[in-house]
């Protein structure tokens, strides 16, 4: 028997359970809560939440709660959950869809979304990823967030760690100033399409 908050699916009709099934290509209804995905998840302990709980929230059509799950921010996409599922539900693919939705509606802006934004900004411009440029962009984005939130100490520690790594890599010639790039005119069309879908709240 679904609980009272089933009404969320009406409120967010554009993000219905059915839409998530269609977008991900996975039949969430096949879940019978054996929790093998939960047992395999390497970040569940740290997150305080396991993949099966996201599936459960979705089955109750509580899309908002599913989007707020800590795993949407912290899932590392190792795909262990889907590999272990006896019913072939790829929960990491479903979380991928939730990541996309929450990114488009800016519900889960955090360090990992800063990293993705910085990464994509570099490849939009250069066609390929330039590690040093990407890291600088990311640090600026994450740094601004830290300053706004008053986490100056965290920011300082982070900067120190990244510089240490950068120097170590440069010493061993694993970090370079010159960029690898490609002429890929189609990329701007891809990114324009993506930006377009981003302006429409709640994605598709």
């Amino acid at each position: 028997m679904p609980p009272a908050h089933t009404s969320y699916s009406i409120e967010h009709s554009s993000l219905s359970l059915q839409a998530i099934v269609l977008l991900s290509g996975h039949n969430i209804h096949a879940c019978y809560q054996c929790r093998r995905c939960a047992a395999g998840c390497p970040v569940a302990e740290e997150c305080g939440e396991a993949p099966d709980q996201i599936i459960r929230k979705l089955l109750f059509s509580d899309i908002k709660a599913a989007l707020r799950s800590s795993l949407v921010k912290q899932c590392i996409a190792c795909h262990t959950c889907g590999t272990r599922c006896p019913n072939g539900i790829q929960t990491s693919r479903i979380i991928e869809i939730l990541k996309q939705v929450s990114h488009k509606t800016e519900e889960a802006a955090c360090r990992s979304t800063d990293f993705h934004d910085a990464f994509l900004a570099v490849i939009r411009r250069h066609g390929r990823f330039h590690e040093m440029l990407g890291m600088v962009l990311y640090e600026v984005k994450a740094g601004i967030r830290d300053i706004v939130r008053g986490n100056v100490k965290l920011l300082f520690k982070e900067m120190l760690n990244q510089m240490r790594l950068g120097i170590m890599m440069m010493k061993k010639k694993r970090m370079h100033l010159d960029a690898t790039s490609s002429k890929a005119p189609e990329l701007s069309a891809f990114f324009e399409k993506y930006e377009g879908s981003r302006n429409v709240k709640s994605g598709k």
Partner: protein, 288 residues
């Protein structure tokens, strides 16, 4: 004609043009010893790695589709992708494109070189295993002092969709087999397909440290004296952060599979830039 038969299209990916340039050099060196010529596809772009698929499906698939279009235009029937993340993204994109023709048409509408026919996509292990007999024949050094734990990581065998995988999903063994062919003594362990944390090493170090310390602890507890991997990000993470994880423990070199195979076949460690590892890796190799 035979030249064309031994030519494989090559997608290095960004990492092999930057922080893991050494891996690019090694792949070319090792495969040329095995009679294979790599033809880098022209003007390739980033596959989007783990960033594009976290923000938008179309963007994620289209980025790899463009590379697939270029690869198809090369006329070669196979493409090798040594980076696990690039390999995974390109495999997933190809599967999506050829199972959803409306999606393929939408992507093709934006492409100069259209995706038409699927191309065989291989990771480096598959190609090396295919030439295992040749490798053991050419192996002039026996690496019998090496006791590696073979580290496959996530993306070589696990996919977020139905996919035919070249090795066993939860217990792959191709790297162990290659190690045995060159005289090394691979050690069985628990973390061969566990996650190193990938980019969380940057965005969530606490999480990444937890994951990596389990991997490093098990390797040391089992008496391994090195790691061997085929993924540039797994290599970089373990190479860069081991010192931070185990200040009191010894640190193990993190080899690319190409370094071990190449060294066994007589390629100079310096030539393969083994001295560019962040955790010292020359001594053990030269002590063989």
């Amino acid at each position: 004609m035979s030249n064309q038969a031994n030519k494989i299209a090559y997608y290095p990916g960004c990492s092999l043009h930057a922080s893991s340039k050494l891996y690019d050099i090694q792949c070319r060196l090792v495969l040329s010893r095995l009679g294979i010529t790599l033809q880098e596809i022209e003007n390739w772009n980033c596959c989007g790695a783990s960033a594009a698929n976290a923000v938008d499906d179309f963007l994620a698939f289209a980025l790899s589709a463009r590379n697939l279009g270029i690869a198809a235009a090369s006329g070669l029937s196979e493409m090798i992708i040594p980076c696990s993340s690039c390999y995974s993204r390109t495999m997933i994109a190809q599967q999506k494109l050829f199972s959803d023709s409306a999606f393929k048409d939408a992507v093709n509408a934006e492409l100069v070189q259209k995706v038409q026919n699927p191309i065989k996509i291989s990771n480096i292990l598959e190609v090396l295993v295919r030439h295992a007999a040749n490798i053991s024949q050419k192996a002039m050094r026996q690496l019998s002092s090496l006791k590696p734990v073979c580290y496959y990581g996530c993306l070589l065998t696990r996919f977020p969709c139905e996919m035919k995988v070249a090795d066993t999903i939860e217990n792959p063994t191709s790297m162990e087999m290659l190690c045995e062919f060159i005289g090394a003594q691979p050690i069985d362990w628990n973390y061969k397909t566990d996650c190193c944390g990938a980019s969380t090493a940057i965005t969530d170090p606490k999480q990444a440290d937890l994951l990596m310390s389990k991997i490093v602890d098990d390797a040391i507890a089992r008496g391994a004296n090195c790691f061997v991997t085929s993924c540039p990000l797994c290599q970089l993470n373990l190479d860069a952060y081991q010192a931070k994880l185990s200040k009191t423990q010894k640190q193990l070199p993190v080899y690319f599979i190409t370094e071990l195979v190449g060294f066994a076949m007589g390629i100079d460690a310096q030539e393969m830039q083994v001295d560019r590892h962040l955790t010292e890796a020359m001594t053990l190799l030269n002590s063989k």
